[in-house]
Amino acid sequence: MERRFDMSDFERSLKDHADQFKLVPSKRVWNGIYNNLHPGSKWPSISIAIVLIITLISIGNLNNSPTHSNKNSQLTANNMSGKNESSDQLVDNNSSKKNVFQKHAVSGQFQNTNIISKQPSNSNSKNSFESDADKVSQNIVMKENNNEKISASSLAVPDVSKNKNFINWQQISFEEPNKQAENNFSNENGNQELTTYSNRNRSIESLPVIQNSLLSETINNSKNEILVHASFPEFVNPFQILPPSNNISNTDSKAINNTDFNSQKATATANVKKIKRKKNKNVEWTFYAAPTIGTVSFSKKGNTTVSSSNVSSVIILPNDPSFGLKRTAKIGFETGAEMSYKIFRKFSFITGANFTYSGYNNMSNLIHPTFASLNFVDRNSIIYSKSYVTNYGNGQSPNRIPLTNYSFEVSVPVGLKYNIWGNEKIQINAVSTVDPSIVLKKNAFIISSDGKYYINDASLVRNINLAGHFGSYISFSVNKIKWHIGPDIRYQLLSTYKSYYPSKEHFIDYGIRIGISR
């Protein structure tokens, strides 16, 4: 652009007056510019949103996934069934009825056999062997010359009273434990496969009979009858196979008789304990987030005025009213997880992990770079000063800019929760904790000793601090999720700055905590 020099008086006068014209833009303009230039500055809100989402997903998963006891019961059931995927229906896992079908960790072939079901397989009550609570015999009859293909689910528990059911084995071979075993039942001609049992690791581990005596042993019992027993006193020993004594050699029967039932009992007892293990109702995990408003309080250290008479004259309190310094609150946040353990009727012990972003704004103004100093007091109450170069005034002139003092901390709160009032659905609790914390990120603008400038020196901030929390929350349950909402106050117990800085600063955060637990 080339400036014209042939401007008339009118144009020149017009230009002069137009150039004098000023308008103060609204804050909306700067906010729009700032958001455009620094889109990343939204990370606190985004991080809170992410934490909330993750928390909700976690709780959703916890609610939807089977409980620990259910898993154990499934595991036990699988142990009982040899993880036989195709024949899960054969097993009645109802331990109260002690109704378990035995599985065979064997592989073998039937010759011209078939299985005849004498009772419906889907009836638990009928499948239970009520006639003998300690010994449950299950008999499967394989009849020859029946080529009808059956499925595993069609295997049924016959009536004990009609205890004349037999398996007609041609060959039963036992494989190594911890190895997949298949039990293929097929007719003699190999035309029709009756069923397939996939037997995996754990099932064979619980087969001491097989492990001890019958490994890789083939029992030839061609066209004879084998009585298969499942004896479950109190708990389940589903893999015990008791061949008829007249068909197995003495050595084999001795091996079977010498089976260590104690170890089986121990294993089964452990499984039962796992099944019976329930969620500890005394422990409760809460995930929470809290938007906060950060403010600050100042105080002079007690020993500075006492130990040295001239200290007070050179130490400037950051909140000295004579300087008219202005500070504004800043929005922060807290988030974390909290575990409460009930120790008494109304008291619970609390601990967990907590992240805190806290701070406030100092109103300053830009100035030409100038020297400013800070006075410090050492342990011997000797005052010394440190000079800085700064371009931040104390905000007494127009065009103020905010300088943010903040700290981002991770802490481990330890405290107590007291149940003030409530029932199962709604409760009011008071919580008080002490939070030892580590400062992860920090920044500090400190007023100079003459009160005229702000100095940026984050190294003065403590790396480890201590804060106190107090809050009162209303807890209520909605759809199995327990919500905790209430006011929360956090007070920084130790000064923000290191001990040689002669003034104490304490962050105070006021927030609304929102937490969820199961």
Partner: protein, 186 residues
Amino acid sequence: MVQGCLDNLSIAQEALYNRFSPRMLGVCYRYARNREDAEDMLQEGFIKIYSQIHQYNGSGALEGWIRKIIVHTCINVLKKNKKFSDSLDLIHASGIEISENNIPSMLQAKQVVECIRLLPIGYRTVLNLYAIEGFSHKEISAILEIEESTSRSQYTRARSLLEEILIKKKILQKPHETVRMVSMSR
């Protein structure tokens, strides 16, 4: 401050904004239809300033460089919205009547600016670019994508219309030949 803006420091950016935004909003206000439009122009202009500040070599005044970007932003916004293309029609301006009531009773700079804003937007744009920003008619024709003669005639009519307004407001004294603004000094 410029270095801080180059380093993308928000403090420096805000300082730059605080320093120049009032005057630049005054510039935008002369081009815009209303204050909201002016603020939108200002926002867009400052975003350009921060994104292009590395092009500022420090040889000239920073304010001049910023003003140049702001003015171009205002023109681009007007062109985008086609707000002045229709009003560049000469016939459109012929029927304008300036009544005493239209003239705001304000003082000095704001008074003059408000009088300028009473002009149709096409007149106003040419007047702003020629009389206040100091562009030549050739430059204006290139910027606004109009004929150079159109720019001249637009300016002539805009000036006469503005003089009429200023005389009615008693900011200018008759006769036109000895145009002199009165009570301009603070």
